[in-house]
């Protein structure tokens, strides 16, 4: 358990469930791993006291706590090896570790008691210690003579006989007394256990309970009142089974059960691993494939083979992609669900690739075989007989496709769904876009030169040429003097493609400066011309002329105007300047024109428009979709090495592909490292075939247990992802085997399995607890009744949409995006951030916002608020079991959220369209929300409450019309109905 998952490592930039309440809730609530580990479970089923023996009772404890330093992988600290009882007696540097018959004098017991061992604050529990003491005191017995030497791969007989590694037996149907009360074979196993404790089944549930149970179980939505009516009034003997068939045939069934599998597969629409958590645009093809598998009723073995080796099933060339080939490629998305750090920069690549491989192995092994193989990545599994070498044998199966030495990033792995026609069309469009790009580059160069020219115009005259030279000189070749000069004029030094927009923003300011410089120059020329001509005037006329000059032109009298004509040179004006100084006029014009040009040229907008135009042209190409697939290059069979301590930088011996050694007695475990008959190595195909022969002890057991768990709320093995020593033992091992056998014999028929479970008497019981049952079996593992269950987050959201009449049912397609709103809450919508990372609002998704939750984007870092608060699947790296928490923020969400209030109003208007009679309205609301009619007493009470609530609305909203008050009152009652326990629990 020492390996951390990247998906855990990357939690949460961003878990922005900012609903403050989560934080509050957590105050008193340590976040625990959902898996609960329990002590000594292997032995509790056997009540007869036994003399403890090393192999069964003591070795597992020492294996878990001590072997790592005392025996395993050649490490024997203090010369002490604890793997055999006789070596304990022999002892190490400090002498004998145990003295048989006297635990008090045994060094091992002392060291453990003094907390000296194990070191670093780890400890052996008092319960375990007492087992060790008892074993020593009773003579330190072994089950059989011990060998002289052992190697690391030792698997003991005790380990070999562990229940989940045994071949699946077909048990005989047990005899039961009350044959009348059973529906099928399944019931016999349950009833036999009940009867052995003098218990029996609870009574069958009413039809209105059953229909609700079936709807939530199979399609994850509440039944509509009409559907309830039809079922209640169906006189046919097959009413119940035909309802099951109808639901199994509904596309909603695939959405519901596909989601269960997506939990197990660790489905996500983002890559995780780094804080960027890039989106996986095309993961949804795998999601849709899974939904389709369930809807089409594809056999489970086929489903497993396709997911593990869909690409290897494709015969002949990959292209062109037929529908069948596409489907097989989509299936391999299963092996591409683990977080992948190579989708973004910034992650240590070798670490990221190896974590991705490790997560993939963990997903495959927990999902399909219910084993925590990942714990053997660094050393032999502490609890289960899974050797480190086994881990690398499994890794070798995937190495050709997931080769960390020749890694392919998610982009490099994707396979285009473009047709030749699409490709041609895009090439034509690209040509057009490229032309726009070229034009933009030209314009950019021109703007740089113009901007430089403009800035130089207003630079000091004596530095202009030097500045220009300095700027045009490439920065490497500039002299010290040039550098210093440019330092002094940062406004010239920094003109560049990147800063052009800043200069464009300042263009009016710059134009003004140029104009004012033009004015200054003009004035200088005018003065020069005037004074030259003044010199030529006879002194007698001088005072007269000077007086006229001092007068502003508009105020000059007629006489003075004559002087203007007489001495045009003296009275030179900007208009006449060119007559006297062609050069001056030219220079001024140059400045004026430059200023005008400067004002006119908006480089920022012009270039941005060209960029947009190119993008727009490109966007007119047909959208290119890609499959997120796992494929293997041809003729690529890299060697897999065992990594010492799991460190990819410390490769040790080569390891061939294969399944776990522990299974060798019951199943084929060796896999050819290269199947010459196909271009790929065929390793995954071979593994998939071995899993699905029907002989593998885990594949069918694990799957039927998952299906069972979803129907009953708890599995026969209540750790669906761990069938090892730390997992729980099956409550009904024979039933589990019987179901597995039936399942395999039915052709791995998933819908058939549902039918068998759903038609059982066990499933159709009431859920009522009784005092006596609670005394005997509070957790309802014996199934003398059905269990009350809280609905999953997706089902709660979907139910609200459904009863309010808003649910949009459409199968498949791109995920409905989630975004961060202005305060960091995760809501539905397309994310648009401005340059400073502020979210922009106003993204209307339209009807997509009301699609089923399975279609909402699973961004690891951004769980949708409403879904997260009711326990979304947490990928670590996959989710083998949902938790169902019960915290106050959920109540606040129900009480106050816009979501609940908004849809209460929609429910109210749905009801108003049916009837305006208050009593009928409440009746309909109850039927919509709870699938049953309202009791008279409750109805009367609600009517009374409604009057009060109406009065309150009226008081605080004097301007409301009576109609509005009535609608709001109805919505208020609907809100209460949807917030109450009956809405989110199913019997």
């Amino acid at each position: 358990m020492s390996i951390r998952n990247p998906s855990q490592l990357v939690p949460a930039v961003i878990n922005r469930c900012l609903v403050f309440l989560l934080a509050i809730a957590a105050l008193n609530q340590p976040i625990l791993m959902p898996k609960i580990l329990r002590a000594g479970e292997g032995s509790f089923s056997d009540n007869t006291p036994q003399v403890p023996v090393f192999e069964r009772d003591v070795r597992p404890i020492l294996k878990a706590h001590c072997f790592h330093c005392h025996g395993e992988a050649g490490v024997t600290e203090s010369q002490l090896d604890l793997r055999l009882a006789k070596w304990l007696i022999k002892g190490g540097e400090s002498g004998q570790a145990i003295i048989p018959g006297n635990s008090g004098l045994s060094l091992l017991v002392q060291k453990v008691t003094d907390k000296e061992m194990p070191p670093d604050g780890k400890s052996i529990s008092s319960e375990e210690l007492s087992i060790i003491k008892k074993w020593i005191d009773l003579g330190a017995k072994t089950a059989r003579p011990e060998p002289d030497s052992i190697d690391d791969s030792l698997i003991t007989d005790e380990e070999k006989s562990f229940w989940s590694f045994q071949v699946v037996n077909t048990p005989e149907l047990p005899a039961v007394q009350s044959v009348k009360s059973i529906e099928n074979g399944l019931d016999r196993f349950i009833l036999a256990q009940l009867e052995s404790r003098n218990l029996t089944f609870s009574p069958p549930a009413d039809r209105h309970v059953l229909i609700r149970r079936l709807y939530f179980d199979l399609i994850g939505l509440p039944p509509e009142p009409g559907e309830v009516e039809a079922f209640l009034n169906d006189p046919s003997a097959n009413a119940y089974t035909s309802l099951i068939d109808r639901l199994l045939a509904s596309p909603r069934y695939g959405e519901r059960w596909g989601r269960h599998w997506l939990d197990v597969a660790g489905y996500a629409d983002s890559e995780g691993f780094t804080d960027k958590d890039p989106e996986r645009e095309f993961a949804f093809f795998y999601r849709d494939y899974v939904i389709d598998i369930f809807n089409q009723g594809i056999a489970y073995d086929q489903f497993v083979i396709e997911q593990l080796a869909g690409d290897e099933l494709i015969q002949g060339p990959l292209l062109p992609l037929s529908a069948g080939k596409k489907r097989l490629l989509k299936a391999t998305g299963f092996l591409r669900m683990a977080a992948d750090g190579t989708a973004s920069s910034g992650a240590d690549r070798d670490l990221a690739t190896n974590e991705n491989i490790a997560d993939t192995i963990q997903i495959v092994s927990t999902a399909l075989t219910g084993l925590t193989v990942g714990c053997a990545r660094c050393h032999n599994h502490r609890y289960d007989p899974i050797r480190q070498e086994d881990y690398y044998r499994l890794r070798a199966i995937f190495e050709p496709a997931l080769d960390w030495k020749k890694w392919r990033t998610p982009k490099q792995r994707q396979i285009s769904l473009y047709s030749d026609h699409d490709r041609k069309q895009r090439a034509e469009i690209e040509l057009k876009a490229k032309a726009v790009d070229d034009h933009r580059i030209e314009r950019q160069k021109a703007h740089i030169q113009r901007t430089l020219f403009e800035e130089l115009l207003v630079a000091p005259d004596n530095k202009r040429d030097a500045l220009q030279d300095a700027f045009q000189t490439s920065s490497n070749n500039r002299t010290a003097a040039q550098k210093a000069l440019l330092e002094e004029y940062p406004n010239i030094q920094n003109i560049s493609n990147g800063s052009l927009y800043l200069y464009a923003e300042q263009r009016n300011r710059r134009a003004k400066k140029i104009e004012s410089k033009a004015d200054t120059i003009e004035q200088a020329y005018l003065n020069e011309v005037a004074s030259e001509h003044l010199k030529k005037i006879e002194p007698s006329r001088l005072s007269e002329v000077m007086a006229a000059l001092e007068q502003t032109p508009a105020k000059r009298n007629a006489k003075q105007k004559e002087l203007e004509t007489e001495f045009p040179g003296v009275f030179v004006t900007p208009t006449t300047l060119s007559i006297y100084s062609a050069q001056g006029a030219k220079e001024i014009t140059k400045y004026r024109q430059a200023a005008a040009e400067c004002r006119k040229q908006n480089a920022k907008d012009e270039l941005a428009n060209l960029t947009n135009k190119a993008a727009e042209i490109r966007s007119s190409a047909p959208r290119e979709y890609f499959v997120r697939a796992l494929t293997e290059p041809s003729n690529h069979a890299p060697t897999t090495f065992l990594f010492k301590r799991g460190n990819h930088q410390s490769p040790a011996q080569e390891v061939p592909p294969g399944d776990l050694q522990i299974l060798s007695d019951v199943s084929e475990i060796n896999i050819s490292s290269n199947d010459q008959s196909i271009p790929t190595t065929g390793r995954r195909m071979a593994y998939a075939k071995q899993l699905t022969t029907g002989k593998h002890p885990l594949l069918a057991r694990v799957f039927v247990n998952r299906v069972w768990a979803h129907h009953f709320g708890i599995g026969l093995v209540d750790t669906p992802g761990d069938f090892g020593m730390l997992g729980s033992r099956p409550s009904h091992p024979k039933l589990l085997d019987w179901l597995a056998t039936e399942f395999v014999e039915s052709g791995w028929n998933i819908k058939g399995l549902h039918r068998m479970i759903l038609t059982s008497r066990t499933f159709q019981q009431t859920s009522a607890r009784t005092d006596s049952l609670d005394q005997i079996d509070p957790a309802n593992r014996l199934l003398a009744r059905m269990s009350l269950r809280r609905l999953e987050s997706e089902v709660i959201r979907d139910s609200v949409l459904q009863v309010s009449g808003q649910l949009v049912n459409r199968l498949g397609g791109s995920p409905v995006p989630v975004k961060e709103d202005g305060v960091g809450q995760i809501v539905l919508g397309k994310q648009k951030l401005d340059g400073e990372r502020k979210p922009q609002s106003g993204n209307n998704l339209g009807a997509d916002a009301e699609r089923r939750s399975v279609y909402i984007q699973v961004r690891r870092s951004r769980p949708l608020g409403i879904l997260e608060s009711f326990d979304i699947a947490t990928n670590a790296p996959n989710c083998n079991m949902r938790i169902a928490s019960n915290v106050a923020p959920q109540s606040l969400m129900l009480m106050n959220s816009e979501f609940m209030v908004g849809y209460s109003k929609k429910l109210a208007s749905r009801i108003e369209q049916e009837t305006s009679d208050r009593q009928l309205q409440f009746q309909l609301a109850t039927r919509l929300c709870y699938g049953r009619t309202a009791q008279k007493e409750t109805l009367e009470w609600l009517l009374g409450l409604a009057d009060t609530q109406s009065r309150r609305f009226r008081e605080s909203n004097p301007k409301w019309t009576e109609q509005k008050i009535q609608t709001e009152t109805l919505a208020n009652v609907c809100h209460a109905l949807m917030s109450a326990n009956e809405f989110i629990y199913v019997d």
Binding site: S45, K276, N491, V823, V887, M895
Partner: protein
């Protein structure tokens, strides 16, 4: 193995324990007490064999620091954009002397198109205040009154000339995005001090999120439990806490009565379902939280005098004053870390400094000073750190050289000023100095990591020991940077 399932008198009842861990603990004492009615099952898991869960278990239960602490809570007033230190708290007479002359040396500009190498003197007068005689600009008259309670640090340095990077340096220890923020580290190390309010609260301005947005209060790769909880910039300050629009208190009471009645009815035929009892209890807890958090945010419970002190009577200061006052009320009720942000680039005065800087100062000066004064008079200042500062200061030279009314100052992260008060920081006076132009910190330079090391030590934590294991590495706020606890900062 025998096909006999042994029910839980001999086996730990996993689902019940699970239920307790997941459920009851979060429903408060009420539900726990209710469930403790089954003592045998509650304590069944005394000593199970299990691998060390280590980092998989996190909570906000108060934790004792490593060593004695002077600070137990902190309020950070983040002046996003970078206030001009040379115009506010770090007077530079030489700038006024060389006003409009060429700056003799190298300067790194941010906005090239408006850059100029001419020096800009400060148009505002400085005077010494308090017993400590600290120089304060006329733009901060209220701060001048509390100057003896605060320590002005004039030698801050992050060395990256961008807003985003420098914000990250100061708020999450490194210039990169994605690391846990200061508040996350503090609450990770110390937990909260209340179970009715979050431990870490961020308060943004109605004018918009600061640069880097929500990353400012991100938990990075710490568990999301330690993420800052954002109070919305306007009512409702907390989502889902306030009653729905149109639901008056009595109307909501009626609604809750209906829910409760429906739940009781539902329960009456399922009386043994503890899960349903717990959820009913949760509705009551939710109501309590609605009350306690609402109470904490209700400023009408403060006196008129307090309102005036924080500037709630003045349009200019009201908004920021409200947030400062809420910050005090939160800390008073056990919140560990509160950070207030000014609006996006509020202090980023690239132009119109003459007009904008006084406006910015007016908005925040009175409330900021009031917060220190108020904490002091309530005896809370001794163990509450108040921080005031942005991610940068400004350059000594002109930006946008188009007439004095248009000029501004560009970014400067090489030497800038912030002030701290309370929680064990030295009271009164200054620490460190920038060069004679105010461009570079030259004396007692305080890097962001030095500031963080000092801050953590005031909270009783060793910066090297406050670590989170990740990728096999012990990660910390300082992340290996050579941060020192700076003696000159301490009381």
């Amino acid at each position: 193995m025998a096909d006999q399932y042994q029910p839980p008198d001999s086996a730990p009842n996993s689902s019940r324990r699970h239920f307790l861990a997941q459920t009851a603990m979060s429903t408060g004492p009420l539900a726990v007490a209710m469930l403790l009615g089954h003592p045998n099952q509650v304590m069944a898991d005394s000593d199970p064999i299990k691998p060390n869960l280590g980092n998989n278990s996190f909570d906000l239960i108060p934790k004792a620091p490593d060593h004695s602490a002077s600070a137990t809570a902190m309020i950070s007033l983040f002046m996003q954009g970078g206030p001009s230190h040379v115009d506010l708290l770090d007077p530079k007479p030489l700038l006024n002397k060389l006003h409009l002359q060429k700056f003799p040396g190298k300067i790194k500009y941010d906005n090239a198109a408006q850059a100029s190498s001419r020096i800009l003197g400060s148009p505002w007068k400085f005077k010494q205040f308090g017993e400590s005689g600290t120089d304060v600009s006329e733009l901060l008259p209220c701060f001048a009154n509390i100057v003896d309670d605060a320590l002005v640090i004039r030698s801050m340095h992050t060395g990256v000339n961008n807003h985003g990077q420098s914000i990250h340096a100061l708020n999450s220890g490194r210039t990169q995005q994605g690391r846990p923020s200061l508040g996350s580290w503090l609450t990770y190390g110390l937990g909260g001090q209340t179970n009715e309010l979050p431990a870490y609260v961020a308060m943004t301005d109605p004018g918009g999120l600061p640069v880097e947005g929500v990353l400012n209060w991100s938990n990075g790769w710490l568990p999301s439990l330690f993420q800052g909880t954002v109070l919305r910039p306007a009512e409702p300050r907390i989502l889902n806490l306030d009653r729905p629009a149109n639901y008056s208190p009595t109307l909501q009471a009626g609604f809750l009565e209906a829910v409760n009645r429906l739940n009781q009815k539902h329960l009456s035929s399922r009386p043994r379902e503890q899960e349903l009892h717990a959820r009913i209890a949760n509705f009551k807890l939710a109501q309590r939280m609605q009350t306690s958090a609402t109470e904490a945010l209700d400023l009408s419970r403060e006196t008129k005098a307090t309102h005036r002190m924080y500037g709630l009577d003045d349009e200019t200061t009201r908004e920021f004053g409200q947030r400062c006052l809420i910050a005090r009320r939160l800390v008073e009720r056990g919140v560990r870390f509160v950070q207030l942000f000014t609006k996006n680039q509020f202090w980023d005065h690239h132009g119109s400094l003459m007009n904008s800087l006084p406006k910015s100062c007016k908005k925040i000066d009175r409330p900021s000073a009031a917060l220190v004064k108020d904490l002091k008079q309530r005896g809370m200042l001794d163990n509450t750190v108040v921080h005031w500062g942005g991610e940068m200061g400004r350059l000594p030279v002109i930006q946008n050289d188009t007439g004095l009314s248009n000029v501004g100052r560009d970014h400067n992260t090489y030497g800038f000023t912030m002030w701290v008060a309370g929680g064990g920081f030295r009271q009164g006076g200054t620490l460190g100095a920038t060069d004679e132009f105010g461009h570079h910190a030259v004396e007692d330079k305080v890097n962001h990591f030095d500031y963080h090391a000092t801050l953590l030590s005031l909270f009783g934590m060793d910066p090297a020991k406050l670590v989170f294991k990740r990728n096999g590495r012990a990660q910390s706020l300082l992340d290996g940077q050579p941060g020192r606890v700076i003696p000159g900062l301490l009381a």
